[in-house]
Symmetry: C2
């Protein structure tokens, strides 16, 4: 049985400010909570229907997790998922600090002003696929604890670290500390399919509508572009799609 206060509290975590004040975020669905349980994230509490609790009883006890059995109706009142669901978890936001020393020898992703939560979630999934465990975002990029970001990441959320910081300063420090190349995706750059790129590196992607800022473009050591097919009238590609193509190309060339 879920008290009205508890329902209100969980729903209040849909707001960024409350998430930030409470240092919590929401994870929903059987698949994602399964990945959560395998991760190093610290769980605050779990709200699940009887069937899920029965199936996971031993793990809940072993991990000493605070949980409540609720009805499907109660779950609907706290959940965002519209597909049939069994479980929702509140998770502590970990205290993480971006340490440049740990980026030596790695491929890293930088995001400038990516506003859509679905895109950020998809990009986290792409990063995970291409062996990138660190994403550094400009402060105006959507918050990664946004429920839609978490859901769209399909579990990759728990394997990729996302940081928010002034991107220009970060790039300058990254170049100095690692001496790895910094690629930025922008119009008028070199054809990414033909250009020699190499990892480890930092790849900076901007928003679809505005691209990356001039300041960041100036800091890059190389600008890359995905060429459209001759005669195409399409104006741009989705930022997650572009990120995937360029990450794939960089990994292909090693």
């Amino acid at each position: 049985m879920l008290s009205l206060n508890r329902i209100k509290f969980i729903r209040s975590l849909l707001a960024k400010k409350t998430r930030s004040d409470e240092k919590l975020f929401i994870v929903e669905g059987v698949k994602l909570v399964e990945e959560l349980l395998l991760s190093s994230y610290k769980i605050h509490s779990i709200y699940a229907i009887q069937a899920w609790v029965e199936a996971n009883q031993q793990l809940l006890i072993k991990l000493n997790i605070n949980y409540a059995v609720i009805t499907p109706n109660e779950l609907e009142r706290i959940a965002q998922l519209t597909t049939p669901n069994q479980v929702l978890a509140l998770v502590h936001q970990p205290e993480t600090v971006l340490n440049l020393n740990t980026l030596q020898g790695k491929m890293v992703l930088g995001l400038d002003n990516v506003a859509d939560p679905g895109n950020l979630g998809t990009i986290i999934r792409i990063a995970d696929w291409f062996g990138i465990d660190t994403i550094v975002c400009s402060p105006n990029t959507v918050e990664h604890y946004n429920t839609k970001v978490v859901q769209a990441s399909m579990g990759s959320f728990f394997r990729v670290n996302v940081f928010y910081t002034a991107l220009g300063q970060f790039i300058a420090e990254y170049k100095e500390q690692t001496t790895h190349p910094v690629y930025a995706a922008a119009l008028g750059g070199k054809n990414v399919y033909n250009t020699d790129t190499k990892a480890p590196c930092l790849l900076v992607m901007g928003s679809e509508s505005h691209g990356i800022s001039k300041e960041l473009e100036g800091l890059a050591t190389g600008i890359v572009t995905i060429p459209a097919f001759e005669g195409s009238k399409a104006e741009s590609l989705n930022v997650a799609v572009s990120t995937a193509i360029i990450c794939g190309e960089i990994r292909r060339k090693g």
Copy 2:
């Protein structure tokens, strides 16, 4: 002034059945309607706020378009867009017939069971970018006149033709008629980054959860796979993301 009946009628077009019965679909937003006006699609009617009508008065008269000036409040009642909006159009569904003869020498995309409208819209945009003007979908793929598909396509909708038919039969006929290769994306195929592929061709993509059906896999002349980075624990890529990577690789190799 919009009558209640008219509001009801427009809102009824959010259902696939009504769209299909009325042979109409909805296009929203300044950018998309601008592309619509440049396309060969036949417009049924336009509902716009005063400012939009004033800016487009000459074109509306020249193209003899049936339009109504409505208030921002009225627009909100008929619109799906949550961002500030100025215009909504009802558009006739064209009568199109898939003709295999027109596919000779072209790169074509096949989609098996792609359920998410955002993914289909993004794939239409990707097709447009990579010079593909024909997409052939299995009957269980989401309907392309779905408002979310149209919006996600970002105007590419008007430059790419989407058909629905039994995909197995289509592939068999395509192979016979064109002698072009048929690639299917599936696990355990050849590394798409290293394999020689060539266009013109047909590329068949399946759903993320189920991949393509065994029947379709058997009809392909080559199976391609996007390799994950060594050690990655990510299970899959989004189907639009995979489509973009493979289309890019095929175009790169010509």
